[in-house]
């Protein structure tokens, strides 16, 4: 459908014409002229759902994941054996995002606590988005979970979540849409101004409804107002042809794609440029929601089975399916194992490629973009078929400007909450808060 509330895409692209087609890297180089300070730190938290498949000694990460790290061995630290104790709150996988990332169990959005990334975000504000939250494969109608809690990882507190972008084109518009001058003809500008009249009428009505509502309903009507406000702001910016604020060119425009690998790549491209242009400093990025119904066979080479990621994760259950309407696992466990290793290696490779790209980007003042970052990725379970909650494996790349160690290989020998890892990252970013939910200590081996 035409995006009727904005200038037509073609007009928009004309505005972008100046950079489309030029070699992007050359064009971008001088644009990184922002002030570099020792305090610039960037968090990129990445999540893959459903757990892992151990394939060797319990003190070693899975070999198929280690193999993907070959090129970045010296840049990464790994932590094995963390515990996720909150699975029971909402099922056997994890306890929704707010509990998982705040160390405080609840399954009510109204009791959600602030997630660790939101302690960091206000300290490290990007020019455009304080937190860039992404969900590349949201679950459209989760039966097991509350949709808000299952699809949006970052929470500022009770009932307040950072809406995750699910469509690359929307994130593109947000990050780069206002940053590029657009030619506006006055006839179109007048028409857009009248469109704003509609939104202003709606906002007046929102105020009336707000006056009738109780406190809990105000949150809901404010949410609607926020959306209308955002659209109004976008129309205003287009009418005025707001000049670029960032002095940093945008990547190629993206369009919504149903193709998962393309969509994932578009998101990674945008995150890369957003970090590079300092449009954002905190990113939370879900490759998919928990228990996802994402299928991989059309793009991961060599797969034999054709089931959802979640069914794949039950690789030790031959013939398993969790939804009577969907295909099941192979009856041969070794086939399921081979497939699951390919799927997890595929996702890890996307993340490692992103890390390598950060590392290949030199900063004007010396060092690389990766040096400023802490890229942390992992999942909520150890062994996935049995929903093991004690063998969580997480990988970190980058030092967050010297605050974190490279090359550490840590294995928890006594139960250590996953929240200890979040608290460790908060420590590296220098948050005023020194505790987080049930976190008992920082993982000192990770700190520089």
């Amino acid at each position: 459908m035409k995006r009727s509330w904005e200038i037509e895409r073609r007009t928009f692209l004309r505005g972008l014409g100046v950079c489309v087609g030029l070699p992007l890297l050359d064009l971008m180089q001088p644009a990184i002229a922002r002030a570099q300070t020792a305090a610039t730190r960037r968090l990129v938290w990445i999540y893959t759902p459903n757990g892992i498949m151990p394939d060797g000694p319990s003190d070693r990460p899975p070999s198929y994941l280690e193999n993907t790290l070959t090129d970045v061995q010296a840049d990464v630290s790994t932590v094995l054996g963390l515990t996720n104790q909150y699975q029971n709150v909402s099922g056997s996988h994890f306890a929704y995002w707010a509990p998982f990332l705040s160390g405080q169990p609840t399954n009510q959005p109204s009791a959600a606590a602030k997630t660790f990334d939101q302690y960091i975000a206000p300290l490290q504000r990007g020019a455009t988005l304080e937190t860039t939250s992404i969900n590349a494969y949201p679950d459209p109608s989760p039966y097991l979970y509350n949709a808000i809690q299952a699809n949006n990882p970052s929470w500022r507190g009770a009932d307040q979540y950072v809406p995750a972008y699910t469509n690359p084109a929307d994130l593109y518009t947000k990050l780069f849409g206002n940053g590029v001058p657009v030619e506006v003809d006055t006839r179109l500008a007048d028409q857009l101004a009248r469109r704003r009249g509609v939104l202003h009428y709606v906002m007046d009505d929102v105020r009336k409804v707000r006056a009738m509502a109780g406190a809990d309903d105000r949150v809901r009507i404010d949410e609607y107002l926020e959306g209308v406000n955002e659209m109004d702001g976008r129309l205003r910016a287009q009418i005025e042809g707001t000049p670029t604020q960032t002095n940093c060119a945008a990547p190629d425009p993206v369009v919504a794609s149903q193709n998962y690998p393309q969509r994932l790549q578009s998101f990674y491209d945008m995150v890369y440029y957003a970090l590079r242009c300092d449009l954002t400093r905190v990113v939370t990025f879900l490759h998919a929601s928990e228990n996802t119904s994402l299928y991989h066979r059309s793009f991961v080479p060599g797969l034999v089975t054709n089931t959802t990621w979640h069914v794949n994760s039950h690789y030790m259950s031959p013939g398993y399916t969790d939804d009577p309407s969907l295909p099941s696992n192979s009856t041969d466990e070794s086939t399921n194992r081979a497939d699951y290793a390919r799927i997890l290696a595929w996702h890890n490779t996307r993340i490692v490629d992103f890390v390598k790209r950060l590392k290949a980007t030199a900063l004007p003042g010396g060092g690389t973009l990766l040096d400023e970052c802490c890229v942390a990725w992992g999942t909520c379970l150890g062994e996935s078929t049995g929903h093991d909650r004690t063998g969580l494996f997480w990988t970190l790349a980058g030092t967050a400007n010297g605050a974190l160690r490279k090359g550490a290989r840590i294995r928890a020998t006594s139960p250590a909450q996953i929240s200890n890892l979040w608290l460790t990252i908060m420590r590296a970013f220098g948050t005023p808060a020194t505790s987080l939910g049930d976190a008992s200590s920082v993982i000192s081996g990770l700190l520089a």
Binding site: M1, P140, D190, T321
Partner: protein, 549 residues
């Protein structure tokens, strides 16, 4: 373990305490962690309901779901062919309904989607004859024409009469446009994008009586029309609100009767049972094409229609509620009769058919429910047991604990009854599955598309069991009849009906209130489904809401 033994261990109602006990949820309830597992009937939990102040909960401000917005736009704009394309996905409550207040939120990206959908809807409407306000485009005095036409439109859109200022603001917006057609577009878009159209608005700033808010007549009209029509009120209902006809029970019931007889009540008569019993998903279910080549779109539609027709029949004929699960008749067309192996009917249309013997009785044994509770290849006794316990008897069953042995690791060549028995040999499974499995196994003679079968993995199916009151059954129809006799069914239908009607999950002490309310209502007599609907619309759940500051 013998199957008899496990049934006696706690089938159905007596299982209440046991189910809660298997994860220790009673303690959590008072801690406020969750209210979903609380009990209200067993001796151990009866105290939960004692000395309780009346509580009627509150429905949070809710945005229309896809069905509602589609019907409302068609009714408001007078075009039954309007299509709503790209509206945000609906959320379903724990009770299965798309009328849930808590999970239905509107983050900014959804707002953007909604406004784009509405643009498309207005464009569709204006491309066809006699759209609202279009007549004013060629009027000599456009402002006079608009101020005359807008009040009726706004009254229906907002379910309340507009003020003169509101009418003037919209006329100003329309007259600001470069041409008259753009003006119509702007005005219509503003009306439907208003939260007073899009949300189920209740004015808590007025009508307070202590902690309770009594719905105003217009708010009551709104609730009635969304309950029975999934749409905005018609002019007659709004006039009834204006003229004080909704101030007493008789007036409200009279309107409900009129609305149930209207064809728009199809929204309720089809959506409620299919969401309550989970067969709404029939359209998208997959079946193994080798085992069930007959499972095509026509058969799915026939299954759904059979279930809907029985529900509709019980409502329109004022039959007792238990008829839903005990009826010794059903409805079939030629395709469905062939599926069931009946001799008649032969026509394409649905006719009432008798059910012989006790193989099938009522809606639970129909192909729609049996298919919706099956896997691709075979029935799922666990899904079937859970469906009956949770949605027909309102007996909550906790989620399985971590690390439990999964059924699929047990030899799939064994008959299902034996596989489940093996699964229950693990005590951590047995605690709950002693209750779940026997209920599901009672339906073992229905395959994954609801057809009768005598064998499972080559062995005769044993569908026998004993209820906790010692009633032995050997046929699915006998269990269904027993379910119909108990008092849990009535309470459970009432809870689901209330949840659908007021747009939120009925939980906690509200269930106690409902139990008392039902007892007083029925006074020992069997309630009909029609009576339940009519009493529901004058009940405190429907007419009041707790005020929260």
């Amino acid at each position: 373990m013998s199957s008899r033994g496990c049934c006696r261990a706690g089938l159905l109602i007596a299982a209440y305490v046991q189910l809660l006990g298997c994860v220790g949820m009673i303690g959590d309830t008072e801690a406020g962690a969750t209210l979903e597992g609380e009990g209200i009937t067993s001796a151990d939990t009866a105290a939960f309901c004692d000395n309780v102040e009346p509580v009627f909960g509150k429905t949070a401000l809710r945005r229309m779901n896809t069905r509602e917005v589609t019907n409302a736009l068609r009714d408001l704009l007078g075009d039954a062919t309007l299509e709503v394309r790209g509206y945000p996905t609906d959320y379903f409550s724990a009770m299965g309904f798309d009328t849930d207040d808590v999970s239905t939120r509107t983050p900014p990206l959804d707002t953007e989607k909604i406004l784009e959908v509405f643009d498309d809807v207005i464009a569709q409407r204006l491309s066809r004859p006699q759209a609202p306000l279009v007549a004013c485009e060629s009027a000599g005095d456009r402002r006079a024409c608009l101020t005359a036409a807008l009040p009726a439109l706004l009254r229906r859109a907002f379910r309340a009469p507009p003020t003169a200022a509101e009418v003037n603001a919209l006329a100003d917006l329309a007259l600001s446009a470069a041409d008259a057609r753009e003006g119509t577009t702007l005005a219509l878009t503003a009306v439907i994008a208003s939260p007073r159209f899009l949300f189920h608005v209740v004015d808590y700033a007025s009508g307070r009586d202590g902690a309770l808010h009594a719905l105003s007549p217009y708010e009551l009209a709104q609730r009635l029309s969304f309950f029975l029509w999934s749409s905005i009120p018609d002019v007659e209902l709004l006039d009834a609100a204006r003229d004080g006809e909704l101030d007493d029970d008789a007036g409200i019931v009279a309107q409900a009767r009129r609305m149930l007889a209207d064809e728009r009540a199809a929204a309720f008569l089809a959506s409620f049972p299919s969401q309550w019993l989970g067969y709404r998903k029939l359209a998208t279910l997959q079946r193994s094409p080798t085992s069930f080549p007959e499972f095509d779109a026509e058969l799915r539609a026939a299954m759904r229609e059979e279930a809907n027709l029985l529900f509709r029949h019980v409502v329109t004929e004022s039959l007792p509620i238990d008829t839903l699960v005990t009826a010794d008749f059903s409805f079939a067309n030629a395709r469905l009769a062939e599926h069931y192996g009946m001799r008649e009917p032969v026509g394409a249309g649905f006719v009432r058919v008798p059910l012989d013997g006790v193989r099938r009785r009522g809606i639970l044994t129909q192909a729609a429910v049996m298919t919706a509770t099956s896997q691709t290849n075979e029935p799922s006794p666990i899904h079937r047991g859970l469906a009956v316990l949770e949605h027909v008897l309102c007996t909550p069953v906790p989620a399985p604990p971590d690390g439990v042995a999964t059924l699929e690791r047990i030899d799939p060549a064994l008959p299902m009854r034996d596989r489940l028995a093996q699964h229950r040999s693990d005590p951590s499974c047995a605690a709950c599955h002693n209750t779940i499995d026997p209920v599901g196994l009672a339906f073992g003679n229905f395959d994954a598309v609801g057809k009768w079968r005598d064998l499972d993995q080559g062995k005769p199916i044993d569908a026998t069991g004993t209820t906790d009151d010692g009633t032995a059954f050997s046929m699915p129809g006998e269990l269904a009849t027993w379910i119909g006799k108990g008092d849990k069914l009535e309470q459970c239908v009432a809870e689901h009906l209330a949840a659908y009607a007021v747009g939120r999950v009925i939980r906690g002490r509200e269930r106690c209130q409902m139990s008392t309310w039902l007892k007083n209502l029925a006074a020992g007599e069997q309630l009909t489904l029609t009576e339940l609907v009519e009493r529901m619309v004058v009940s405190p759940w429907f007419r009041t809401s707790t005020v929260q500051d």
